[in-house]
Structure formats: C-alpha cells, structure tokens
Symmetry: C2
Subunit: 347 residues, 2 copies
DNA sequence: TTTGTTTGTTAAAACGTTTTAATTACCTTT
DNA sequence: AAAGGTAATTAAAACGTTTTAACAAACAAA
C-alpha cells in the first residue's frame, strides 16, 4: 500500500508507440484530422490512441495550461452560493459545463465589491478562461476593466447599466408588474412594496414594474416602496407595524429573502396571511409552496439562466480574438398563482 | 481599448530589482526567513518585495503547480450542491479555505458512484491537493483506492464502514433517538419511520437510533421502517395511506427531502399536521421553521461540519508523507422542539 | 535528371515556476 | 598566508505540455 504510482506522460506513450512526443500531442488533441492542419498517418494515430488508452493516460492540466494558456476552467461568482436560487443556477451551469469538458470555480461576494475584486484576482491566477458574474453594487469599474481587456464575461441576473456587456436577465419589469397584478385582480388596492436599498438593476426594474402596474390600475396614490438595507433587516418589523396601522392590505416583496423575513416578522406579531396581509414575491421556497402563503410567486427559469449564460460565455471564449459582440438575453417570468386553486389549508 | 497587457513574471521582478529569479522565488515564498533554510539579505528581500508590490506581481499557478505539484486547490464532492444542507456546508468550506489561500472545486454525484469516479478523475487531473467527499452508495472501492495512494481524503456526513478513513459525521444514532423521543414524550406510541433504501451509514444509524428509542420506551412492537428508493419517491403516498388505515400516529423522517415529500403528500390527501399525523425530521427548512410543521427537527452544526472537515484535510495535506493518521470527528446533534413554545398558528 | 509538392514525422523551444548544486565574497581562525 | 566557515547569490535543470520550423521520403511534374 501507499505506492505513489508515477503519472503516465506523453513521453511514456511516445516511447511505447515508438514515435515522437509531438505526434502524440497532435493525436491526443484531435488535430490529426481536419482543421488542425497536421497530418498523421491513420495507422500511427490509431496505435497512439490505443497505447494511451491502455496506459490510461491523463493529460497534465498544469502543463497544458502553462504552455497554451487554456485551462478549460470557468469562474462563477454569485452573491451567495448557499442561496437556493443561485445554488440551483450554479448546479445547472456545473452540469452543462461538465459536458463541455469545463470545470467550474465558484465564489460568493456577499454583495461586497471588495470580495468580488479579490475573487476575480484569485480566479484569474488560476487561469480561468471566462467568468459568469452576478454583479453586486460597486462592481461596475471592476467589470469594465475586465471587459476592456477583452476578457470573456457574462453577467447573470443583474446588469451593469451603460456598460456593453453580455448578460442573461429576467424581464424584471414585466415580472414585477404581473405579480402585482395578481393582487390587484384579487381586489386589493392598498398594495405596497418591500425592497432593498441596494442599487441593483433587477431590483430597480421590479420596482418599476410594481409602480407601472399600480398606476395603470388607477392605484397610483397608494404606491409606496420601502427600502431596506440588507444589514438592517430587523427594521422590517417596524415597517410592517406601521403599515398595519395605515391599513395596508398587501405587499409585493422584491426578493425571496425579503419575503421570508417579512412573513416571519408578520407571524411573530401574531398576524396571519391572508387574514391580515396578503403578499406576492419573487421565487418560490418550501414554505410558500407547501402552505400557499403567497398569493403568487414569480417563477424564474433557472435552467435557462444557467444554460444561456454558459452558452454565451463559451461562445465568447471561442471568439476571444474578435472584437466581442455583446448579447443580451432577457428571459420571461412565469407567474405561479397559488390561490387560483383551492388551497388544501383552511385559513 | 482591448490591450492585453502581458502578465508580470518573476523574471520581470528579477530584472527590475537586479537579482536572479531564484532569489525572487525564495522571497515570494517566504522561505527567506526561518525554516526554509535559505538566506536572503534583509534589504534585498525588502527591495524584491517592494518591486513585486509595485508591479502587482501575481504568480502563475500553472507554472507553480507544474513544478511543485502543489495547487492550493481542494475538491469537495457532495451528493447535490443545490441541496440546502450541502450548499451551506460548501459555503463554509469555501470561506474557510479562502482564508488559507485555497480554492475549492465543487461537484455533485447525484448518489451515482460512476459520477463520483469521473469527478475524482477530472479533479485529480486539475491537480487538487486533497478531497472532501460525501460518499454515495458504491463509493467504497473508489475511495479505498484513493486512500491506498495516500491521497489526502476526508469523508463528510457519511462513513465507509471498515475503511480507515478520516471523517466528520453527526452522531446520527443519538440524533435519531433523541428526535424520536420528542414524539414519545408527547404521548405518541404508534410511531413509524420513513427512510431510504440506500445503504448509507448515516441513514442506517438514524434508523438504529429510532429503533433503540422505541424499544427502550416499550414501543418495540410498533417499530416499523419504510424504505423508499430515491427514484421512486411517489410511492410515499401509498405508504402514508396505508399508515393512516393502520392508525399510525407519527412519523420520523430520515432526511429533510423525505420529510418535504412526505408532508407534501400528506397535504395533498387533505390531511393536516398534527391533526392527522405528527412528525419529526432531520435538518430544518423554511416551511417547517415558519409553520412549525414538525414537532421537532435535528439541527446539524453546519459550520462545524465545514470547519472540521477542512481542518482535517489541510492537516492531512500537510503531512502527506507520514503514514496518515485517521481521525474521526463525531458532532453532536441539537434537537429543536417547535411545539415546546406556543405556536403562533392555531392548528 | 531536376524541381516541386505532398505526406508523415521530429527536434527543439517555450511557458513560469521551484529547487539543487555551485559559486562568490567576506569573515574567522589557525 | 593558508584553510575553513558562513552568508548571499545565482546558473541551470526540471516539471509536461503545445507548437513552430525543419526535415526526410515518396511521388509527380517538368
């Protein structure tokens, strides 16, 4: 036991097959046929392939990277990888990347641009070929610099306004409108929004959607958006208490985290849903799914987020030399209305 | 725009500081002082350091790896990274690893040993220094081989019985017993368990705990464990229906996923909790937290899982030459009893 | 025969580090 | 003055690839 068996290298194969290492390299990279431009005798190629197979040759990625600069690794930086929404997307990207023989490096910014910068530095030292980023506040200059270097980059979930960057986002404006509309249709009028004070494109657009829907339905006078700092979530109780006094009927929560905080606070006060408040929110979670707490949720197309982002990135990596075309993919939200069907809970 | 600026190498620094590259290497690796055994003039070292700082030198990991074999990268393979429990642990590991200047590669097996094998191969080609694994069924031979090579390895959440491998696990037997006991204390007698048919150490021990608790409380006659295949979760409805006919009073769910499936099925039948059934389970989730669905949950010390596993792995990497000592860390569960306090829901 | 083309192959450089062994310069001690 | 020791430095090899440029052999065209 404990024998550390030396790894098989290209040299071993060359020796075994009685050819030069160059030939082995050509064959192993599939450059022997077609576009590569190298010409290798068919039989020789076959022999090399079989020897490699037999010895279970595994290329040394470090050497390959050092020489060619290509690592077949990409980075994915989100706000918090333990957040279900991002974890699900990450999983999709990982699976899809794997099929393309890419490995994925994950990182979380915690909405902190300094962390983002550090992560990018670390990842770049690792030699990643490209990057998928959920930009946090203050990410603009960091990402712009990256783009200026022509570094393959795709934004996810949020955008950096004014910068010419590829991105995959939800139609947040529409989603915000549609989900608000569910409440309006149910007859609620005094509907307010609970949102983040962070300046993020997706949040801002969700607010826009809410506002537009309210105005279109003649409820402009009730429009009110509460902005919470994410490090002062406790303030939500205060807001809710005040809202109840003002006879607010329903809430639109700008994110799932916010909704969860809100509902927890509501329950702590001894209030019930929808007896005392009604609500809609973004994304689903086990609690809302199971108990139909929310009147409706915005369901985001997770797999498409992952797939589109990865495909965009790979394309961008492939064409690193060209002047870089920016594609903007806008996905459509789906509204899941829980109250449409009879709830199995008697509230 | 678009200027790809060449990366600063050790050579540039050497030239700028007027020294050899070896000296730069010594200094950059902190081998210039203390245990490294190299001697570098203090002033020279300082000069090199300042030049490196000024030029913003970033070492090329590929080169470093190729030469030294060390990558400062570890792999973490779980069953499903989008599962909240694993996502949380992953996050802890990532954060902690980052502080030690390690990067983490994540992968999911989906409880498939073939995938595990593939992932390990890919990760090893990337040159990871060590591996943290949540072993799936059939992982034994794969992991044993790894251990035979003296490859730094730490098992997480589950163990491989009979193999001398380091691991960090919950005291699942105790947890299973304690959580069952909550139901017993509340007066339930006909308590059954819903579990997986997969042969995993943690599951088996949870069952053991349940069984022991029942027997100790003179309820041995009621012991019954239902085994579900995870690709046939739909069978749970059938089991529940049958259980209701047999007047089963409460369930112990062996995992959170199982509990979620179970409760969903229960609600679909129009039954309520705890009116028709009571239940306890492992781990928490938003639904159970918010609505106190479960009478109690086993709360696992997520951060300690991550921290202990990483520390064990790093230690093991550090002492790769030594014959490898196996440490087994067994963490204590915490039982969260929801019904202890007045629920704010009138059930 | 010479010249040119195609096909198959290879030697050797390069990538940016780490690390060994050698070298220099400067002190001590005899 | 010679010998030995220590401190500071460096040249050069090695890691395993990819890729360029050169070469040889075989054949075709002149």
């Amino acid at each position: 036991m404990g024998e550390r068996t030396r790894k098989i290298t290209i040299k071993d194969i060359a020796a075994e097959a009685g050819v030069s290492i160059a030939l082995v390299s050509f064959v192993m990279n599939g450059k022997s046929d077609g576009k590569g431009g190298y010409r290798v005798n068919k039989e020789t190629a076959e022999r090399i392939r079989s020897v490699a197979e037999r010895l279970n040759y595994q290329p040394n990625d470090a050497a390959r990277m050092l020489r060619s600069g290509k690592t077949n690794t990409i980075g994915v930086i989100v706000s918090d990888i333990s957040n279900k929404f991002f974890a699900d997307i990450a999983r999709c990207i990982e699976d899809r990347a794997y099929k393309h023989k890419y490995t994925v490096l994950f990182g979380s910014t915690d909405e902190n641009s300094q962390k983002l910068e550090n992560l990018i530095e670390v990842f770049r030292n690792k030699g990643i070929d490209g990057l998928i980023v959920v930009p946090c506040e203050g990410a603009d200059p960091i990402l712009r610099k990256l783009a200026d270097e022509n570094f393959p980059l795709v934004l996810l979930d949020r955008e950096v306004p004014g910068a010419d960057l590829s991105s995959v986002v939800l139609n947040n404006r529409r989603a915000g409108g549609q989900v608000t509309e569910v409440l309006v249709k149910q007859g609620y009028r005094k509907i307010e929004m609970i949102s983040y004070s962070m300046n993020l494109s997706n949040i801002r657009e969700r607010e826009e959607g809410y506002r537009a829907c309210m105005t279109e339905n003649g409820l402009g006078e009730y429009v009110r958006i509460h902005h919470l700092r994410h490090d002062r979530m406790d303030r939500i109780t205060e807001i809710l208490r005040d809202a109840r006094e003002r006879q607010v009927e329903a809430f639109v929560f700008a994110t799932n985290t916010l909704a969860l905080q809100g509902v927890t606070a509501i329950f702590r006060q001894g209030w019930q849903i929808p007896r005392d408040f009604s609500m809609v929110c973004f994304d689903t979670n086990e609690a809302f799914d199971l108990y139909k707490t929310a009147a409706a949720c915005v369901s985001q197309p997770i797999e498409r987020f992952g797939a589109e982002a990865l495909d965009l990135l790979l394309k961008s990596i492939e064409h690193r030399d060209q002047p870089m075309a920016c594609t903007r993919v806008v996905l459509s939200p789906e509204i899941v209305e829980y109250n449409k069907f009879d709830s199995y809970h008697k509230n």
